[in-house]
Symmetry: D2
Subunit: 312 residues, 4 copies
């Protein structure tokens, strides 16, 4: 993740700043505030600002005049109760703002989460850097045969090498021609005085989807948990999952009690259908039950057996 020297200086300046506040403050998150956490080959996530902490969730649930409860154990219990019973509004009372640098095809998945605020770097207004995502060879995989929208085994090394060459060559050519069409350097100075340059809003269409963009992305804790449960899930594409994983790290610093409840009730558990619940009850009662009698499809049955840790 190459941060330019002037960007690094700006980040350092921001980190050096200190102020006194009456607001809820979280030292563990302050520690990493503004610092880019490296993701993929050129990407990052960094926390830019936040509002609230674990106590703010409790405080909102009680609509109190002061802090939530007096003891951490009470806060933990209440937070677990809220998340278990889908009382989601108190989690909306905390807010976090990230600065993210990410490939455009990842940005296109991410933006589908609508309950968030976004400001993206504008390629109508500015010139994009020559930075694109190239997977590491072990992440190059064939189309999955079991899951029609995922990936399966890794490519053989020679094929992987060929793919990487193509991706690199095509991205480099894309950018070279983008720059040629613009006919201006990063500072906006004309390169070749004998030519005009194409408007930025047009030239950008020549770039491929692995080029990096960046944005400010702000959301509340409830919607962040939704985002993380979907995007840190095994079914999510690897390239967005690594962002979600980095953000879970920031979640644990920020609101450790909420993060714990999230793991317990949203990540580590399982949703059973009516049929699946019936199967479990029969098994517990020692009754014989198999897939055809369960009312479940083979696929669902397989998923259930996996959840229960049984041989299929």
């Amino acid at each position: 993740m190459p941060i330019k020297p002037e960007e690094k200086a700006e980040i350092e300046a921001a980190r050096d700043h200190a102020a006194t506040t009456r607001r809820a403050t979280v030292p563990a998150l302050e520690e990493i505030l503004f610092q880019p956490l490296s993701v993929l080959d050129h990407g990052f996530v960094r926390v830019i600002d936040y509002m609230g902490d674990d106590s703010a969730v409790v405080q909102a649930a009680r609509v109190s005049y002061g802090k939530g409860t007096k003891r951490v154990s009470e806060d933990r219990g209440l937070i677990q109760y809220l998340i278990r019973h889908r009382h989601t509004t108190p989690f909306e009372m905390c807010e976090i703002k990230y600065h993210v640098k990410l490939p455009i095809f990842v940005a296109r998945q991410w933006i589908r989460h609508r309950t968030a605020n976004v400001n993206e770097y504008s390629a109508r207004y500015s010139i994009l850097d020559n930075e694109f995502y190239i997977p590491s060879p072990e992440h190059l995989a064939v189309q999955s045969t079991s899951n029609r929208q995922g990936r399966g085994d890794s490519l053989p090394p020679d094929e992987a090498a060929r793919v990487l060459d193509l991706l690199r060559e095509d991205a480099n050519r894309s950018y070279r021609d983008y720059a040629y069409m613009l006919n201006e350097d990063e500072s906006g100075k004309t390169v070749d005085e004998n030519r005009s340059g194409l408007a930025r809003e047009l030239a950008r269409m020549n770039l491929s989807l692995n080029f990096y963009t960046q944005w400010y992305w702000k959301t509340d804790l409830h919607n962040l948990l939704n985002f993380l449960s979907l995007r840190a899930d095994a079914h999510a594409q690897y390239e967005i999952r690594v962002y979600a994983d980095a953000m879970i790290g920031t979640l644990e610093r920020w609101v450790p009690l909420c993060a714990e409840a999230f793991r317990q009730y949203r990540v580590g558990g399982a949703q059973l259908s009516a049929n699946a619940l019936n199967v479990v009850k029969k098994m517990l009662a020692g009754e014989a039950i198999d897939q055809p009698a369960s009312g479940m499809s083979k696929r669902e049955w397989g998923e259930l057996m996996q959840v229960l840790g049984r041989q299929i």
Copy 2:
């Protein structure tokens, strides 16, 4: 606005707390943080938390690594440009959280602003206080004849007195019977051991719409400006307008440059229709134009003349 002693103590304790933060901090807002600002006879608004400042708007518009611009004058210009051209997303990057105590009929108008986070005091779970709104005599007015959903002149003193008596008597009786049906005091202790008590979720239906409720209400700056432009408007009901007015005071402390642009472009200006614009052009050209020729209704024509400060 009677704040109970234990609530006052909690507020004081919160105000005494100080922490060091790397986040954007606004001293003028910190000054009044947590303090209830009195509204109506028993209501208040108090700022509980905030995220961002004027610079955060600029920073988001630029997707920068550090602060927005170096100079206040540049920030002012950019903020005015953004608000003039309806580039609203940078304003979403700031967030504010209020604790509000307000009559239920005001809450019912307020909640129509959907892009906000709300936690309301639950009358299924808790017992409401015996606090209800009684207008001051000068705010008792007849139905407006020009605006079918507003109020006109004040009531004559004897009628006002009669109305206030009715409002007070009915609210007191409502609460007395609510308390009787509950058969428990505020701490949940049974009052009359020989009777059961009605569930809170049912008893509350006996209270009238002028009883006070309270909630935590959190929104971003863009949606706050929308709320304020609609609710601080002369067409808004007086009882919600006073809340909006108090919140404009907090806006000016929090983001003075945004507040200035808000006054300039959202409050103090006017929206002209195509027909109205045409009338203005003709007037400037010295051409005669009257209502029948304008394509405007009498009402619209009247509104336009008023905006232009002309005799009708």
Copy 3:
């Protein structure tokens, strides 16, 4: 549910209207279109309009040019897959619009579902009818001791009778004084020429929360399912649950395959936490496990045993 004769005539006129359309049309829902379905003592729900059907969900999931799939069995399988894997966006492609008449305290819970469109009858502009909700005696219950925001056993008959008397008397007095303060009848005619009348936006504050209001409420199928799963749940207050139940009836007419998947995956199943899943695995493996060793609280353990149909 007393519908006024002129309202009934309007409904009949709307039902008599027939047009030809190329749009997806659902005969089973057309059958009851515009008809009020009675809820509580004076309330109703009626379907006013709808967009899409089961096929529209499939069609959206595939982004197809024509209909979804050729066979119902394929549609059923895909819809179940989508709901199981939380692919919620295709369900947003169907829309339904209701006209609802409901007590104000129910409206205040309902409005918390923000992803919907609402137009409420305005008591600033119009005069409310003298209609308020009085529970039937068997629904009058004491505060629950196990669930701090619910109700428990029914009140003894004499206490119930006393409560009903109070509710009725207070509501009648509320309305009588509301009408007196307005000093106008429903058509807007002054009653007593020697008095002014109070503005409607003020007089309404004297009404209690069991008075009926009405609104148009429109939402997409995904958000409808969310609403129904929360409000038809046993933890929801009875007075909103009966609305949800009536709406589930309309759901089954409208999108029978989605309704079936909803029952299977959202209503009839269960969400297991990480700890709960671990308990189930141990039980299936024949290992001893009890509440203290489970990492679960007594309450959670009890809930799990109930879900599994076990003795506690």
Copy 4:
């Protein structure tokens, strides 16, 4: 706009279908239902479904049992009143669903409108067609000097030709290598049995931003008007403006009275700031006023003079 024969057949089949409905139906919109309206070189917009009409707006504003008003002239007046006074909720009661084929860089602007429902063709699941946007020569323009995010004069013909060659060559190479990496044809059959193929979710990153994607996009009338007022505006990029223009055509068929009010109050008019309003008043009073005395920047002053049709 090349529609494949099997797609055309599906569209024709859908258009041949007719059903009887009690719902509000709009013959002028039914006429073009499902038909693709050509936009750019390979794109289209087609209306897939709709709910409501002009009367539904009126009906919602009144929360009525039947239709809105009896006469078109009353409906027109009320709709204009609603839009003038920003009473936006009645417009949310109508809904429209489009199927759109559009370049990815246009989709990235479009998706920023969050209050809409979207299902996009998935390139994780399916293979994209070899279709990309190439501007016509007259739309190739230099970067604007007056507006930092727009375009200015057209490129000289030889430069335009060179740009078109580059865009075409690079897109063709992108797609060729995409197809090579996939190693499967459109039906999913392996092309070269001696090689594996790269997962679709990875291969797609090699495509450039001018490739076409498609989606179902559904929104309510209020949010549609917002979208159209921003995207049909002269400041919008040409490539999205042509979609907005095509959609305004469908708006006029669907809700002619709302379309008329939209033109009068949202498109053809002007928003004056407090300073601008002051300038207009002085001009009308015959007082001298110039830019330095106006409190406005040169740019704003210029914009105002343009709005007023005055020499600058």
